[in-house]
Every structure is written in C-alpha cells, then in structure tokens.
C-alpha cells in the first residue's frame, strides 16, 4: 500500500512538473494544481497512512496523526487562494500581452500566436 | 431479516448503477448514452442509500435517515444535469445515430 501511495504521489509530481514546464499559462496552472495535489498527499502522508482511524475522538481506539491533516488543510486553502490569483493573473496576462505564452519570447517555430 | 433487506437493496442498487455505466459505454450516440446514467444510476443510488439508511439505523445507536438527503439531492439535480448536458450536445451538433427520428424537431440554438 505504501509503495502504491508513494508511486501515486511521484506520478502526480511528474505530471505536474511536466505541465509546468509547458510554456502556456493555462497548462502551467494545471500543472501547479496537479503539483499541489501531490504536495498535499505528501504532506498528509508525513503522519503515516492509517485506515479507519479518523482523528475524531470516540470513533475508534487509535487515531491517525491529526497534525499533518491540519497542516494540509491550511495548505489546501492557501493553495486555493494562490491558484485563484494565478488564474486571474493569467487572464490579465493574456489581455496585456496578447497571448498566454509565459516565456520571454515566442519560440521561432510558432510564428502565429494562438490568440 | 434486516440484513437480507439491506443486502438485496445493496445488490439492486449496485446493479442499477452498473447498468447505468454499461449504458454509458455501450450506447452508440451521446443522446442514448445519457439515459443510463440519468435514470438507472439515480435509482441505483437511491436504493443503495436506502440500504445504508437501514444499515446505520439498525447497527448504530439510533435512527439514521440523513442518507435520504443525498437521494433527494440526486433526484433534484440529475434531470437538470442531464438537461444541461444534452443542451451542450445539441449545441455541439453531436451526431445521433442515423435512424433517430425527429431530428428536425431540434431548433438551431445560435
């Protein structure tokens, strides 16, 4: 199970990073979202995996580590705020720069801007 | 006895859910695919949720009927979801299979 979990996290990281490395704001945002899933899962797992041990007192005899859960919760909220901002910034960028290309200059191979 | 009821409800529910999904995969065009999930799945869910309701009401300390809420929700929203989806399919002029009747009843939405 642990191996599977770790593989999932790794795969999400890979996909996120790959998307982030594309040169368009939207894909970057997708990548960031994916990366934040991975990160949240990772941070969550720092309290180790436990089945059916939700940290609600009285519901089980042993409890999962509640602290990483709280941390991930905070991280999710902050990540949400950041994603919202970057999405709007991407819109702003499209409107200011005429394209959603994030690199300094357009690559030569792509003369026509996808506008 | 209650266990039996729960089990049967669960199996019925599961079957309907599965049928919905089979319809989703099996049907030849979008409009036909829509039928399965909209109806069969919704009903299957209602059945499953009823099973859960009975299960929790009998095994836990007290009556537990809040699963009704989910059923209510699904019943309320499933038609609207379907309606929105079919609207967008019509908007996208998705092909229906050839033998579909009454295609001319569709008005151009632009």
């Amino acid at each position: 199970m642990e191996l599977l979990y770790a593989s999932c996290v790794g795969l999400l990281v890979s996909c996120g990073v790959f998307l982030i490395l594309r040169a368009r704001t939207f894909t970057v945002v997708l990548g960031l979202t994916m990366l934040s899933y991975a990160v949240n899962l990772f941070l969550f797992s720092s309290g180790r995996l436990s089945l059916n041990q939700a940290a609600v007192l009285g519901y089980s005899s042993e409890y999962a580590d509640p602290l990483p859960q709280a941390l991930v919760l905070t991280a999710i909220v902050i990540g949400f705020a950041m994603t919202a901002f970057v999405v709007i910034l991407a819109i702003r960028g499209r409107s200011d720069l005429g394209s959603d290309h994030v690199d300094g200059k357009l690559p030569d191979t792509n003369k026509k801007v996808n506008a | 006895m209650i266990e039996w009821i729960i089990s049967i409800l669960l199996l019925i529910g599961g079957s309907f859910v599965l049928v919905g999904s089979i319809g989703l995969v099996k049907m030849p065009d979008f409009y036909m695919r829509l039928h399965g999930p909209t109806k069969a799945t919704t009903l299957g869910m209602a059945s499953l949720l009823t099973a859960a309701m009975i299960f929790f009401s009998t095994t836990q300390t007290g009556l537990s009927v809040k699963e009704i809420l989910i059923s209510l929700f699904l019943l309320l929203t499933a038609p609207v979801s379907a309606y929105m989806m079919i609207k967008s399919a019509i908007h996208h002029k998705l092909d229906s299979i050839e033998r579909t009747k009454g295609k001319d009843n569709i008005e151009d939405d632009v």
């Binding site: 990160v39 720092s46 941390l71 200011d96 | -």
Partner: protein, 505 residues
C-alpha cells in the same frame, strides 16, 4: 498590554489592513493615507519598544493560545528578529508615506496590502514554528503579488507572472520539505526540531538532510540566491519603485530564514548534519555576487541596477551565513540592515529621478536635466557611496566587518578577491550611472514634459531612508555591539532551546 508587546508587530499591521478596508477610515483617500501612515508609525514604535524590551529583559517568547512550545505556535523575539522587525516597519513607514504622495492611487488597496505585507514579513521574522513560517511566507507573497501589479503596465504583468509561478513552485517545495521534516522529526517548532535533529540516527539523518536542503531551495528562491535569482531583476525593476523599495526586505526574509535554520536546526549541534549546507551556500553566494555584479554593469536603468545590487547584497549575506561564525553573523546582521535601507533608498531615488526626466525616466543615458539636481544629486551621492561601500557611510563599516569576518574562513582568498573586484565593479557601475544621469545632458531637449518636484511626503520618506547611511556610520559603535549580541544569541544553541521550550523562562 506590556506582556503582549511581542505580538504587536503582527497584530498592528493586521489591524491596520482590516481598518483600511472598512468605513469610515478606509473610505476616503485622505483618511486612508493618514490612517495608514499613522498605523505604520505606531507599528514601528511598537517594534522599537519591543526591541528595547528584548534588550532589557532578553529573549521574549510568546505562546499563542497559551499553548507552549513545541505544541503551540510561539513567537520568539530575540535581538535579531526584533531588529529585523524594526527594519521592516521602518521601511513600511517610509513606503506608506512615500506612496501617499500619489502612488497609492494608481491601483486599489495599496495601503491595506502594504500592511498585510508587513504582517507577513514580521510574522516570518518572529515565528518560532516552521509551518507558521510557511504561512507567513504565503501572506507576504500574496501581498507582494498584488503590490507587484500595483499601477503596473504590460512589462510588469510578465514579470509578475514569472514571479508568481516561480513562487508557487517554491511553496510546493516548502511543503514537501516540511512534510519530510515533520515525517522524520515529528515536530514543527524550530527549537524542538533542533533538539530532535541532534538525536537522529541511521538513515533518518539523510531524510532530515533532504528536508533541510529543500528548505534551502525555498529560502534561496525567496532570497534570490543563484541559480534561483533570475526572477528578481525584472520583478523588482518593473514593480513600482516604492513597492520595490518595500520589497528590499523580502529577499532578507529568505536570508534570515537561512540564518535561523542553518544555525539553529542544522548548526553546531546537529551531529552529522551540522553545517550541511555550508558549502553550497558558500559557493552559491560567491556565484550570486559575481552574477549580480555582472547585472549591475549590464543594467540600462537605475531600477535594474538597484535590483542587481539587491542580488549582490544577498550573495554577500549568504556568504556570511555560510561562514557560520559569530563574527560573520554579526557582520551579516549589520550589513543586512545597511543594504536593505540603502537599496530601498535607491529604488525611491530612481523613481524621483525618473519622474523629473521625462521619457528617458531612469535610463542610464543622456537626458534632460532633473529639476532638483541638488537635492537628488546629494541623495544619490549619499546612497551611492553607501552602496559602493566607501567611507564615510555605512557601507564601509559593513565592508570592513565582512572582510574581517571572512578572514579565517575556508577559501577566504576567493571571497576577498571576488568581493573586492565586485566592489570595484559596483563603484564603476554606480558612478557611471550617476554621472550619466546627473551630468550628461541631452544636447537639445526636444520633448516637452511637466517638471515635477518632489512632494513633501516623498521627501520625508527619502530622507528617512537616505539618512540611515550616515546615521548607521555615526552610531556604528552601539549598532555593532547590538549586532554582535544578536549574533551571539543566534548561535547560543542551548540557551535558545531552553528558553523557547520553557516558554521564555
């Protein structure tokens, strides 16, 4: 109230931010300005009061929610963090004042955002909890994203996009680092982490090392250490100068965090992990200085030049952090204050100069003469001398000190050579810029533009920042004693741990 003094540098900016969003004080621009400036002044005074208290009574530990470390979040006010809080709030005061001359109206929510930024920076300086540090990083980042776009143009948008995206990746790395560290150490309080790191065994050591090094990536990104510095020149030079001036403190947050993490958690007592980042920091710092200097020489306008000076100052600071001795840390503390104020002053000067030169703005080319050459020239002279590190201004003390402090480091010769060459290059760059801007005038002025003059509010802000250079020289005696005290405290592992974990007793 007095026992809550430690909390005020965090509370007041948040309060200011809230009040500035609400009627009646937030509804009219004049009221907003007055409220904002008054609040930043109060915040500064509260910080100074805290500094005096720390001087008098020693380190202050404030357990939020009455949950003591390591379980709750504690704020730790020691000489270093309070000094930086004072620096931040002073800068905040100068910037709100400066912007009140009109810059604040070039977009919405300038004043609340500045206060939120101060909140983030102060929080990051004061917190003793590593996840809370993350939260405050995010507070200051999100405020900085918005401020970056204040009154921005298209160039600005691209820089902002880059800055935001890079920092989002940085935040992801931060979280992974925190995950690793929590997963190994089972705690978040820095002092407690330090204690636990010392006890690590087996492969756990390497996991902790990964966590520590990933933190380094984050701090290097925030602090603009090579090769993660690339965002800075464009970001700072396209931001509105008053914002850039305020940002002068932000790179220091990264440096400060390095100081904390690599002297407390991975410091002398960390066993196998002690000083694990030292080599990285040292060489990266040197490379940062080199690249920053190249940027200084390559800069085509004053803001870009100043932005590159920020990079050089980061490199210098990190080199000092890498030495990890009390002397180097004290030099770093002095130099940090000096470089922050001076680069902030230069950003503001670049703005004022640019406003008086028409279309040429602050480009380092011949242009129309500024309308107030004496005032601006003198201020530029002072800031320039200070930033070059020549006597008689604060830069020279920093320079002497840091050279002295690195005297017995490994590879001193490389650092000295590089640093001295860098100083020379900066001297050439700044001198050329100054002489071109103030002395090299266009033969005939074709363009007609409105001759603006420095607004009184701008003037006061400018003078506050510029006067820091002579003041830091005159009072370098007591300041250096303070910096030394702060450095000693920073390096006093056992005392830090004991005081923080016992709730300030």
């Amino acid at each position: 109230m007095i026992q809550n003094l430690t909390f005020l540098p965090v509370l007041l900016p948040m309060l200011a931010g809230i009040i500035l969003l609400m009627p009646p004080l937030g509804s009219k621009i004049t009221r907003r300005r007055i409220t904002s400036v008054v609040f930043s002044a109060i915040t500064f005074l509260a910080s100074v009061a805290l500094l005096l208290k720390v001087q008098a009574d020693g380190m202050q530990v404030y357990a939020i929610g009455d949950w003591s470390a390591p379980f709750g979040i504690v704020l730790v006010a020691d000489p270093l963090s309070t000094l930086l809080v004072c620096l931040t709030t002073l800068l905040g005061f100068a910037c709100t004042l400066y912007a009140s001359a009109g810059d604040d109206e070039k977009g919405s929510f300038f004043h609340p955002l500045v206060h939120f930024l101060i909140l983030g920076v102060n929080g990051a300086f004061l917190t003793g909890d590593v996840f809370n540090l993350f939260v405050f990083f995010e507070v200051l980042l999100i405020a900085s994203y918005s401020l970056l776009m204040h009154g921005g143009d298209k160039k600005n948008t691209r820089a902002a996009l880059h800055y935001v995206i890079l920092n989002l990746v940085g935040s992801a790395v931060f979280l992974i680092a925190l995950g690793v560290l929590y997963g190994v150490l089972g705690t978040l309080n820095m002092a407690d982490m330090a204690q636990k790191v010392a006890l690590l065994q087996g492969d756990d050591v390497y996991l902790a090392k990964i966590g520590g090094l990933l933190l380094l990536v984050v701090f290097a990104l925030k602090g603009a250490l090579l090769p993660l510095h690339l965002w800075l020149p464009n970001t700072y030079s396209t931001a509105m100068p008053v914002v850039a001036a305020l940002f002068a403190i932000m790179t220091k947050v990264g440096v400060y965090s390095m100081m904390r993490v690599y002297t407390l958690i991975f410091g002398d007592e960390a066993g196998e992990l002690s000083h694990m980042a030292q080599n990285w920091l040292w060489w990266l710092a040197l490379a940062t200085i080199a690249l920053g200097v190249m940027g200084v020489l390559a800069s085509k306008d004053l803001r870009k030049l100043t932005a590159n000076l920020v990079i050089v100052s980061v490199g210098t600071l990190v080199a000092l952090v890498a030495v990890q001795s009390i002397e180097a840390s004290s030099a770093a503390i002095y130099y940090l204050v000096h470089s922050t104020l001076v680069t902030a002053a230069l950003f503001i000067l670049a703005d004022l100069i640019g406003r008086q030169r028409g279309n040429v703005v602050d480009s380092i080319i011949a242009g129309p003469p500024v309308s107030q050459p004496r005032l601006l020239g003198l201020c530029f002279l002072i800031a320039g001398i200070a930033v070059i590190g020549m006597p008689p201004l604060s830069g020279f003390i920093g320079k002497v000190w840091l050279l002295k402090a690195t005297l017995n480091a490994e590879y001193t010769i490389v650092f000295w050579l590089l640093y001295l060459l860098a100083s020379l290059a900066i001297m050439v760059g700044v001198t050329k810029a100054g002489s071109t801007i103030f002395w090299h005038h266009q033969d005939k002025v074709t363009e007609v533009f409105e001759q603006t003059r420095v607004h009184p509010a701008q003037l006061v802000a400018l003078l506050i920042l510029v006067s820091s250079a002579p003041l830091m020289t005159i009072f370098s005696g007591p300041l250096s004693e303070y910096a030394l005290g702060a450095a000693i405290q920073l390096h006093d592992f056992n005392n830090n741990i004991n005081v923080i974990l016992s709730g300030g007793k």
